[in-house]
Amino acid sequence: MKNAYDIVIIGGGIMGCSVAFELAKNGRTDVLILEQEYLTSGATGRCGAGIRQQWGSPLNAKLAVESTHIFENIEEYTGYSGSCGLNQGGYLLVAYTEKEWAQFQKNLELQHSLGIGSFAVDLDGIKEIVPHINTEGMYGACFNAKDGHADPFHCTYAYAKGAERYGVDIATYTKVTGFVTEGGRIKAVETDKGTVQANIVINCTGGHAAQMASLVHDDLPIKPERHQILITEPVAHIMNPMVMSFHRHFYVQQTPHGSVIMGFGDPTEPVSFNIRASWQYLEENAYVVTKTLPALRELRVVRQWAGLYDMSPDRYPIINQAKAAEGFWTIAGFSGHGFMIAPRVAILVANHLAGKEDSIDINLLSTERYAKGELLVEPSVV
């Protein structure tokens, strides 16, 4: 770690590492990533790592489609020697209410207009895709074969190693303690290992983003929310797609290794930095998921853990430059779908900072939208 950089990125998750990679690719190689623990130690390493294009609003869908294209070749794209484990088994979104089913029809229309090959299936069609599913109470489902999941650790390391090859420095176990501003501009980052001068600081700290931004007196409406997840013992291949229900707040997928990963978002979860696992979650998740997928009843749970969603008011990311500190950017508020759109968001940010044009207007994602009341509401989030 030198004592001055052009750009300092805070947070060594998928967002921080992909932004570093894209910046370096655009010639801004004097970059440092600060990570308080190890790469992927925050939300990235705890996430379900689903990749889906079946969104209900155009911007998310566009970000997801273009990100999926990168995930499909991420090893080549970043020059990574490992495998990022992309498995495109599809996403099966099941509808349990009439309202949800109606929303799905609207989503499909939107997705088709963007060239996403998703389609609706009836109960027999659902059984064809996942033979052991219990369709009781379902109205139908949407399926897209290009959705899937990847390995969040390898993806992050792919970006990190690629960035390092361009000359980016990564300082792990380095905690940010404060910032120095001068005349309304960011000047330096204070860490427990010393002060680093910077022209631009990018805050990619997920659930901690609002706390971090408050150090430069920037008020962001991003709130941390605990989400829990569990993994079972491996069994022979039993299901291709990620099965997901917004109404019952769960998602289930089988990894290529054979273990089944599932999550349940408790709708009553309070705002907090708590990332402890709870037995209540284990019980509730097992109950909800085995109602839909009874075959999974025989599986033993190997491990469970929790991580933070960085919730924004409209469940859309916030990409914002602080008013009180020019040069201090925050990229957060992904509300549980940051991993799957990170590749495209990183390009958007890097294009902006490199003065290049982009087909997406970055200003759409600033906090201005809350002041103006022009929210980018996303109807389809677990």
Binding site: E233, P234, A236, A295, L296, E298
Partner: protein
């Protein structure tokens, strides 16, 4: 002197072959007494797997018992007429 109450002799099947046992034994113990030490095969390289931790912790003794895969036979008592089979690789869930 310790007195072992083994109970009445019973029979169960291993890969279709009849094996004698005592109801106080675990499946693994009964199989070992009958000279069977290979209980299954590893998932990737299909190497032989047998008893390892003997306390239901390590997953080395996974077998298919009465059609259910991934059963830890080192901690499951044998019952008359039980159907025990070698597990080759990852267990198959029934549905």
């Amino acid at each position: 002197m310790l007195d072992f109450e083994r109970g009445e002799k019973i029979f169960f099947s291993f890969n279709g072959q009849e094996i004698e046992a005592y109801p106080t034994e675990t499946i693994a113990a009964a199989l070992h007494a009958a000279g069977v030490s290979k209980l299954g095969e590893s998932p990737e390289l299909h190497r032989p797997r047998g008893l390892f931790c003997a306390i239901g912790n390590c997953s080395s003794c996974f077998m298919v018992v009465d059609g259910k895969p991934n059963m830890r036979v080192c901690v499951i008592n044998v019952k008359p007429g039980m159907c025990v089979e070698e597990q080759k690789g990852k267990g198959e869930l029934n549905y």
